[in-house]
Symmetry: C2
Subunit: 358 residues, 2 copies
């Protein structure tokens, strides 16, 4: 299979902290990205909008985008609730007519849309509904606690703080040290990047932990370390159930706590200023007490997202996090990832010694 | 609508702690129960098997049950994973032919079974799939924290310890005191009993808290107190995500912790002796810290299930729980429910004073 060439839809919501899926594809597979469709930034290049991504153009219509020869349309923003905006349906029809497949990470499945499904059949194109869970998922049985590799889960102070990005970066850095490391995708973006995984937030609630268990066992083959992509946050009023199902299903031996340093409120409720983000040490204690209620685990490092801070502020944020928690802290994208890579490598050595001693 | 007359299927799993749905229907609506189908106890009466239920017969085949004139078949056991045993499909077909509706609380929806769906259409009967969630559930927005009544959630040390039963009993007792109390069903059995509700464990994970919020708001009309039926347990490896989604979506002002006094291990994993049930005070601390991360809440009482203990042992269990936690503790079915009723009534007075002071 040749690599796809995506036209990414991020209309009306393209920006450093909003178009999470689009941004990750652009960051990790810029060579697969033909253009971004966003009427608000049409005429600019991606670099202007995101601060990375180079000369990839932003176009203002589906027609302009299709001229550039994409092989697929990728839905690159995840609106709250996951609903497909009505207007986009026409664009997707146009793209199918032009011979494109569609990659969709929303809760709404395109294959369930009679018009688009019929058009895909007629044009011979594929609708990839990446959030559709596999059938026959198990109830968690505890299998994940017995896998051979060290399992590390990223946990967060909120949604969209860098839990996936941290794991992708740490995977690369651990591999560079010769530690066989497997990234386990648990959300639509990770699945788009890696070509496998389950969007655990789209699974029927009773089976979330079972899905996490299946993923962890699957990821543990021929690996020294398994890095499970975290979801949501333990105090996110809408998504905490997903976070906890993932935590208890994957049975991590260690956790890395992710935080966006400038954020003060849980983002989805920031307009109501409902939930102020408590101190990092409070999260460490919550995640450790809840995680350890099922499988022994602890937080071994802090991964910060400092994209909107100056260098001086960012350095200071890392120092503060380290002082507050007593744990290694860094922004693994902006600065040296070594503090976290070392923490995982050390934890793995400790883990192997403990296993041997048993 | 005339009340249904159920033939309850509990084949192979009929007993005091196994056939939870069957037992609740029999306990609260014995007049609606024609017979129980269970080959293992065929020929006995329900009283012999459960210790309550009187002379309701246990039959050994669908044919014998249908002779007694039920208007509906009620699936009364919830096997792990919720799968419909293959053998039952024939029984259900036989029952549809005999003019019965079917009440189903499993994760498998009967309406999705082509054979049974066709037969129901042909015979004009109804397949009630009680776990099918409504379409278009919201993401939780925090509405539940602002409802006028006091919201009380039951939380548990495990599944199947009495979280629903406690709320039903407390609803009755609070009503007797003139406090307008609304029970909010969050599982298939509660829905069967009350005729409304959402089985939150069958909702796509991202929407569990939204479903809990919708239920709480719905239950708060013309009520002084809302008693939300809890699900699962915060340390249940398979179902903790449901528990936490319900906790954060319903924003309880207070919680009642439910426990079966004789239980030592989380039941679904007892064969592997995986997870020993920690002390009650540990649960109080876990539920309070996690609940309060979204909305101020505390545990105000302990509801014990002592069905398998002698009177002396049961009294002692209540005293021990009270000493350990410093909270009122009782078995509200077996003994006087007043300690818990008082705790809720007092909490409501405190709640009203605080609201007024604001």
């Amino acid at each position: 299979m040749t690599a796809p060439r995506h036209l990414i839809i991020a209309d009306g919501d393209f920006g450093p902290m909003t178009s999470k899926t689009a941004n990750s594809i652009i960051r990790y597979h810029p060579e697969r990205t033909v253009a971004v469709l966003d009427r608000q930034h049409a005429g600019q290049v991606v670099q202007d909008v995101l601060g990375f991504g180079g000369a990839i153009p932003v176009v203002g219509s589906m027609r302009e985008g299709l001229v550039l020869g994409p092989t697929s349309i990728l839905i690159g923003i995840a609106p709250k609730g996951g609903q497909l905006p009505g207007e986009w349906r026409a664009w997707l029809g146009e793209a199918l007519d032009a011979g494109c497949d569609i990659w969709n990470g929303l809760h709404n499945f395109l294959a369930d849309d009679p018009v688009l499904a019929a058009k895909a059949r007629a044009t011979g194109r594929t609708l990839h509904d990446l959030r559709r869970p596999p059938a026959d998922l198990p109830i968690a049985s505890g299998l994940a606690k017995s896998v051979a590799p060290l399992v590390v889960l990223t946990v967060g102070t909120d949604c969209n703080v860098g839990k996936m990005t941290a794991q992708l970066q740490l995977t690369r850095k651990l591999e560079e040290r010769g530690i066989r490391t497997r990234f386990v995708p648990t959300g639509q973006t990770g699945i788009m990047l890696e070509g496998w995984g389950i969007a655990v937030d789209a699974v029927v609630a009773d089976f979330v932990a079972g899905a996490a268990e299946w993923l962890t066992v699957e990821g543990s083959r021929n690996a020294d370390v398994v890095l499970v992509e975290g979801q949501g946050s333990i105090n996110h009023p809408g998504y905490s159930g997903v976070t906890v199902g993932l935590l208890h299903g994957s049975c991590p031996d260690a956790m890395v706590l992710c935080h966006q340093s400038s954020r003060q409120y849980i983002g989805d409720y920031r307009e109501a200023a409902w939930l102020r983000i408590p101190p990092l040490s409070h999260y460490v204690s919550l995640y450790e007490s809840l995680g350890a209620a099922v499988h022994p685990t602890r937080v071994i490092g802090i991964s910060l997202n400092t994209y909107d801070l100056s260098d001086v502020e960012a350095r200071r944020a890392c120092e503060r996090a380290q002082q507050e928690t007593g744990l290694p802290a860094t922004d693994p994208i902006r600065f040296d990832a070594a503090p976290l890579v070392n923490a995982i490598a050390d934890e793995r050595s400790r883990y192997l010694r403990t296993r041997k001693a048993l």
